[in-house]
Amino acid sequence: MKHREIERLIQKTLDGEICPRDKGRLDKHLAACRECAEFFGEMVDSTAALRKLTEFYPQPGFNDRVISRLGLRRRFAWAKAGIALAGGWLAAAIFAAYSPLPAELLGKIATSFPALVRFYDNAAIVVSSLTSLLTPVVKNSIDATGPVIGAVFSVLFIYILGKTLQKEAKCRT
């Protein structure tokens, strides 16, 4: 067999497309021809080495650059804004509980809007009914319930606001 024909069979072997008959012919020739066997070995070695080539990687921070460009990081900015707003809400709740100023403001608003007074009166009935049902321990610490309720609502507010803003950020991206 000519070397040209052998090289064709070697290429077929490397392509993974050699048929059993051609493989038999190739093996027979390689066993008899040292030069072709050496050539075959070198071809196999060089192509096999390609699979083990070093894998290169981009600089650290590559993922962050891609994510930032895609705008997915906006979600974090929104979440931070949510936390800041919730913090403000909590501070306002504490301020409302301990400062006389909000009460004065509320009084002024109430006198301007009679409907608010009616609502306040109805709410007061509900609150006093609930208060009478509470345990003596809670009753005794009734002064502390304002800030506690404020804190609970603040946590709920943080959670709901965070979720809403997360959804908003997802929709934007």
Binding site: E7, E42, M43, A49, R51, L53, F62, V66, L72, K170
Partner: protein, 180 residues
């Protein structure tokens, strides 16, 4: 043609809904392969990084149009190939072998010969014409079939076969002794 595995399809769905974690996972899975391929094509670290970056941006922006019945990696390679060709067209750069990414000096003595051989292969690869180099990488390193390569590069299978055979022969000649 192989289709995207279930795990990849799930990640794609999550990435489409804006899940940053899924995008990170896809990046971690493919950035090495894409970057290595591009780097071996352009032989310049910064250009390779820019092309890889653009590949992923383009990929994520067009993710909604990706047909999940097709292999995701092949799609990525298609984008990377097109951007690499654009880069060649724009810059007409000469292939320049950079050796700053060769294995370090802390290799074990026993591994030295293997490393040297791989360096030799990498160097020989860099001396092939860009298309031949691309074919060798896609067929032997990435293990794509002729049909898949034909779809990635949009060239006929017969051309790929002829050029790959010639490229393999040339590679062997560059690495070892030329056959008389």
């Amino acid at each position: 043609m192989r289709k995207a595995p279930a795990e990849i399809r799930t990640l794609i769905q999550k990435a489409l809904s804006g899940d940053e974690g899924a995008c990170q996972r896809l990046l971690n899975l493919y950035k090495g392969r894409i970057f290595s391929y591009v780097y071996r094509m352009v032989r310049n670290y910064h250009d390779a990084e820019d092309i890889t970056f653009d590949t992923f941006i383009k990929c994520f922006n067009a993710l909604a149009t990706f047909d999940t019945s097709r292999p995701f990696a092949a799609w990525l390679f298609t984008i990377a190939h097109n951007l690499t060709m654009d880069h060649f067209r724009k810059n007409r750069i000469e292939v320049d072998y950079i050796d700053e990414f060769h294995p370090g000096d802390d290799d074990l003595a026993g591994d030295y010969e293997k490393k040297r051989k791989l360096e030799q292969i990498d160097l020989a690869l860099s001396q092939l014409p860009p298309l031949d180099r691309e074919l060798v990488i896609l067929f032997h390193k990435e293990e794509y079939s002729y049909q898949e390569i034909s779809e990635i590069l949009t060239i006929p299978v017969t051309t790929i076969k002829t050029r790959l055979h010639r490229a393999r022969r040339k590679l062997r000649d560059l690495v070892g002794k030329p056959k008389e």
